[in-house]
Symmetry: C2
Subunit: 190 residues, 2 copies
DNA sequence: ATGGCCATGTAAGATGTTACATGATTTA
DNA sequence: TAAATCATGTAACATCTTACATGGCCAT
């Protein structure tokens, strides 16, 4: 069971019988970028889940198009198992494109570093505004887990913004202290 | 340029001429799980970067085995470009296996939810302890970006722990308020 | 001399990305 | 009636995972 498949089971459980398109839109509208929202990954995943008997298509009601998907009893078991099954590494840090780049700002000159900080801070602030707005959005209020996740998203982005601000302060301090502070040990030797 | 390739360029830049094995170990020892540490992804990526002329193997010094990799001038340019190039979605929330599962705790019974909260909190606390220890570790002190990243890791895990604690409090409250609070709209209709 | 680390890969298969393709229905 | 949205896919390609394979070096 991949992460994508687990989340798809969760979406179908929480959204009730719904089309594959609804699942696709849920990923596309997620505040969490990084979820593949391409139909090229979702429809094959739905086909896999159906082949395993975890989801099934029920006949659409009058006039509705498409296939209405819902969890089978084994699908519900699989979702319960997936929710409770996370490795020892879960809870730790996850891949963050901003942090990954921040490690290597030392290769940039002063202007480049400022550009990085500015851009990163703008992005983080914009993300925080979106996250706060999403929490206030009345739709999704009925789903406790959904609201809890939006809270988690906000906490995560607040932490990222705090980091970017600290990064900027440290950059200014380091630049004042010694010009080489940003260079790697290797570059210093050269 | 994939994220993996970008980070590999960064590692080779900051570690100076080093073997592919060193790159591999850096991923394996990263506090950020989720980076593929398998040789099956790293050596092919190194081969791609070499084919593009971004890294080159220099002859190893006396007695040293293996190939010593370093960035070519185009490789340094590529690293600078990659560090500054992050999409509009960067800065926002990233995929978090704990949060993804937390959305759907409603499918669990009271005992299952308690198990989830307990397990998640233990994992987050353990990760925080590791992150704090890594910050105090003297090795890596010379690299400003490395230290900054460790700070970011700690902030992220602190946010996750804060979220898990909030989740637990809300779970207790919701359970006291109404037994159905955890159920999805679909499950309620049934 | 044996187990552990250094070091570099490959093979098969699963998965994800990007782009294309089609057609119905709804809304401005 | 034109554009947007609903709806479901496929094809080619790139990438990642898992597992296997090999051999040198070093400390106990």
């Amino acid at each position: 069971m991949t992460e994508l498949e687990g989340v798809i089971l969760g979406i179908i459980w929480s959204r009730g019988p719904c089309s594959g398109y609804v699942v696709h839109k849920r990923f596309a509208n997620s505040p969490t970028s990084g979820w593949s929202s391409s139909t090229g990954s979702i429809y094959p995943a739905l086909a896999r889940l159906e082949a395993q008997g975890l989801i099934a298509a029920t006949a659409p009601n009058d006039g509705q198009r498409g296939r209405l998907l819902s969890l089978t009893p084994p699908g519900e078991d699989a979702l319960r198992t997936w929710v409770l099954a996370f490795g020892d590494d879960a809870g730790g840090a996850v891949v963050d494109p901003l942090r990954a780049r921040g490690i290597y700002v030392g290769i940039l000159d002063a202007e480049g570093r400022r550009e990085f900080m500015d851009h990163a801070e703008r992005r983080a602030r914009a993300a925080l505004v979106s996250a706060e707005a999403a929490q206030l959005d009345p739709k999704g209020r009925d789903n406790w887990g959904h609201q809890a996740a939006l809270m988690g998203v906000r906490f995560e982005i607040e932490a990222r913004l705090k980091w970017v601000e600290a990064l900027r302060r440290q950059e200014a301090t380091a630049r004042a202290d010694e010009g080489l502070a940003f260079l790697s040990a290797e570059a210093k030797r050269a």
